[in-house]
Amino acid sequence: MRITFGDERSLEVNRPVRALSGMLESQSIPGLREMVPTYASLTVLYDPDAVAFQELKSRLEEMAETAMSRKDEENAGRLLRIPVCYQGPYAPDMEYICDYTGLSPREVISLHTQEAYFVFQLGFTPGCPFIGPLQEQLHVPLMQSPRTHTPKGAVAISVGQTVIYPRATPGGMRIVGSTPVQLFQLEHSDLTLFKPGDRVRFAAVDLAEYRDIEARAVKLYDGVEILGHD
């Protein structure tokens, strides 16, 4: 069952998604198996033998009303500082991004590191964050035909969002830089570096710093600064 609050990637639409997901986490609803919060909707997996669809539907509708009327403050999540190298082989699409947007590499980096973004959802592959909203100036289209190999740690942008690839996979977004930190670790109790609702600030590092962090970033959170609330 899916509860939708809008059809855009914005903090306003996402706020009730998080509020409802928080409310459901704090209550135990029989038959509720799993929740997947995303940009504009919350998907709920349930056991139809434990709770009837109509019953769950009316209950969730009621809670969604409450979630929408809540005015939670924006900065509830953690703020994580993520090092990104925007140079050379780590930024294979920088030239395309500059051509498309008319910005210089310096301006692209300045915009991308300027504000604390928001983690809207995890998806695609284990630990892969969807981060935004991205400034209008940085909106670039997806590739016509996706790469068959996007390297691990690639920080990629497309219309309105930034994604970081936790492992090498195919991908169609434009690679603006790369981070040496780990995004997913089975042995860590958190499993993933990011949680929906976290805030992220990217920090530009040069090639030497990148390699230095890469050499010691073996565990989740290595090389990541948790700044707390901004």
């Binding site: 899916r2 059809d7 855009e8 990637r9 198996r33 799993e34 929740m35 997947v36 919060p37 995303t38 940009y39 504009a40 909707s41 998907t43 997996l45 139809p48 033998d49 669809f53 959802q121 995890l122 998806g123 695609f124 592959t125 284990p126 630990g127 892969c128 969807f130 936790p166 492992r167 996979t169 089975l186 499993l191 993933t192 929906p196």
Partner: protein
Amino acid sequence: MTEGVAFIRVLQPGAQSSVQDLGRPGYQSLGIAEAGGMDCYSLVQANRLLGNPDNAAALEMTLVGPRLRFQRDGSFALAGADLSARLGGEPLAPGRAYRAAAGQVLKFGPRRNGMRAYLAVPGGMDTPLVLGSRSTYIYAGFGGPAGRSLQKDDLLQCLSDPESVRATSDVPADLLLPLDGPRVLRVVIGPQEERFTSQGIATFLSSTFKVTTESNRMGYRLDGPRIEHSDGPIVVSEATPLGAVQVPGQGRPVLLLRERGTTGGYTKIACIISADIDKVGQAPPGFEISFQAVELDQAHQAERQRWLALDAWLPPIK
């Protein structure tokens, strides 16, 4: 948990043989798909034949089966596809438990029916539990032996003494995987049905599609007539449930399966009902698939019924 007993050595791994149980629920919000058997109904049959719990880990073997040598005497069970299994030259049928002697080799040959065969061992395969499941999540690289499908010389252990298994009756014929042929998959329409023209919905429900070679544990790409969108194929990225039928820009359906990306930004015309999802895993490239719309309560009813039918043969072990 008991110490595993070395039972089977892998002589040849086959096309894609992996350890699977009923999957790894609970982590989709972190981008972790549930993985698990592509045909859980057959996997459970294999387990029940040995008196295993339904969720015990079994071997899923795809199209080209492996070559396996038994390290000691013991029981095993087969279910699902018929890949011409032979034990020491003797042909074996799916839906039955067998007994192997130490040193005997289990081989597979040409595909005769279905696509994925399941091999259960006493107590289930003893690979490490990862987030509560032994399923191999092949495309993410964890679960199973070392986070991958089988390789030559892997040694598979089972959780119970291989000789300590009670005999059960064979799986009744009407519960076995049906013989090859066109498959009708029941779907619940939505959630983005309004993003298709009425012609588009009609094309989806009245046409026959073909499974392409771009089909794996993540998803199946189908070929067939173009399904017409009314307003483009892009939606704001949202959760992609098991069985979602996604229609990207080229208008052909993509079935999202056990190892799919947990979120996606293409329009979804329908979702395959739980009771029919296992049929997909048994349809090899070239097979014909069509879709039939049902209501949600019919979907729930069908799922209940198929497990009740299995319980009538042999109830689950608690």
